[in-house]
């Protein structure tokens, strides 16, 4: 806890981070602006947070924003650092972090394919990876309805019910 408080204080002084929370032990979440993300990530990497665990996104459709999340881990003291930033939902663009963490290439392709966020500088992220020949909305957005798409593309089994009229004395109409 001591080392976690030291890192949080250092980040609060040097950059302006807001809404720091800690829902579980050895973990802290904070939010920052778009232009400070690269410098904070480089700074944390030099302090021992050398592993990039995950890049993901959340679609807040009511506030008309995307939240982009970076999760870093430090193996020396076991602390997870989780960084959030907000992007505009109508024109989501961001710059890649490939120069800092080379392993981010496939995570950014994943986020681009499922949410439509563009990463400038990562040319391979415009090619499809998990889906093939997909020309609808990006699937993980909140305004995409999977049940309607599934009923339209893949027809289902039709069940007919036929009631036996003489069993147990019950008299029903068949259909």
């Amino acid at each position: 806890m001591n080392s976690m408080n030291k890192i949080i204080d250092y980040l609060k002084e040097t950059y302006e981070i807001k809404s720091v929370k800690s829902p579980m032990d050895m973990q802290f979440h904070f939010e920052t602006e778009k232009k400070l993300v690269h410098s904070i990530l480089g700074d944390l990497k030099s302090k021992g947070f050398k592993q990039l665990s995950l890049i993901t996104a959340v679609d807040w459709i009511e506030e008309n924003e995307f939240q982009l999340t970076y999760i870093l881990f430090n193996w020396d003291n076991g602390i997870h650092a989780i960084l959030n930033t907000r992007l505009d939902r109508d024109n989501p663009k961001f710059t890649t972090i490939l120069p800092i963490f080379p392993g981010a290439e496939y995570y950014e392709r994943d986020v681009h394919e499922f949410f439509g966020i563009e990463f400038k500088g990562n040319e391979k992220s415009f090619k499809p990876l998990f889906l093939e020949m997909w020309d609808e909305l990006p699937p993980l957005r909140k305004d995409f309805d999977p049940q309607a798409f599934s009923d339209k593309t893949f027809p289902k089994m039709e069940y007919t019910t036929q009631f036996l009229t003489d069993v147990g004395g019950v008299n029903n109409e068949g259909s």
Binding site: K127, P128, L131, E132, M133, P139, F144, P146, Q147, F149, S150, T153, F154, P155, K156, M157
Partner: protein, 183 residues
């Protein structure tokens, strides 16, 4: 007495079905999550080889295709492609409830709902996923179906080819994909 062509062919088919039912080679393709119960069925505890079935590496020399579970977009294209590469007579056995009506992924945008529309199925085995004892029971049933001449899925595919093709194109838009990496 001279046997005409039709009698000879039906007598020959009976002999062929008898031998075919005792030696079935299974194509080695784990398509979905039901394939985790296939190695226990194949190895020494629930021995599948005493029923005359064994694994085979290539589709050109295999007799039976096991669809173990759900099929997504990409896998369905490749399964159709390799089903058409197999030589006749060939059979399909579908495992699990995902092939009947979508199963637990009924509202997913990427999983097909009903296998019957795309490929002809000879036998369904129920469960999620079926135990090795249930699989052996199903294979015993398949053997007696083959020996009696009732497993005619491949003939149905040839006769109704346009209907199957229409369904495949409606769901998948294109079956043979050429340029997967856009390079």
């Amino acid at each position: 007495m001279v046997l005409n062509d039709k009698d000879m062919r039906s007598a020959w088919e009976k002999v062929e079905n008898y031998f075919q039912g005792s030696s079935i080679w299974m194509k080695w393709y784990c398509t979905g999550c039901g394939a985790i119960e296939l190695p226990p069925t194949l190895t020494s505890r629930f021995d599948m080889e005493r029923l005359g079935m064994g694994p085979m590496a290539t589709p050109r020399q295999a007799d039976i295709l096991l669809i173990t579970g759900y099929l997504s977009f990409k896998t369905l294209r490749r399964v159709i492609y390799s089903y058409e590469q197999m030589q006749e007579p060939k059979y399909i056995v579908a495992f699990g409830s995902c092939t009947v009506n979508g199963g637990i992924y009924y509202d997913s945008y990427s999983v097909m709902n009903r296998l019957d529309f795309y490929l002809p199925v000879d036998l369904y085995i129920a469960g999620c996923m079926p135990r090795p004892e249930a699989i052996l029971n199903g294979f015993k049933e398949l053997k007696s179906m083959i020996k009696a001449g009732k497993a005619e899925g491949y003939k149905k595919y040839k006769e109704n080819y346009e209907w199957y093709r229409k369904n495949q194109i409606h769901s998948l838009k294109e079956v043979y994909v050429k340029d997967e990496f856009h390079e």
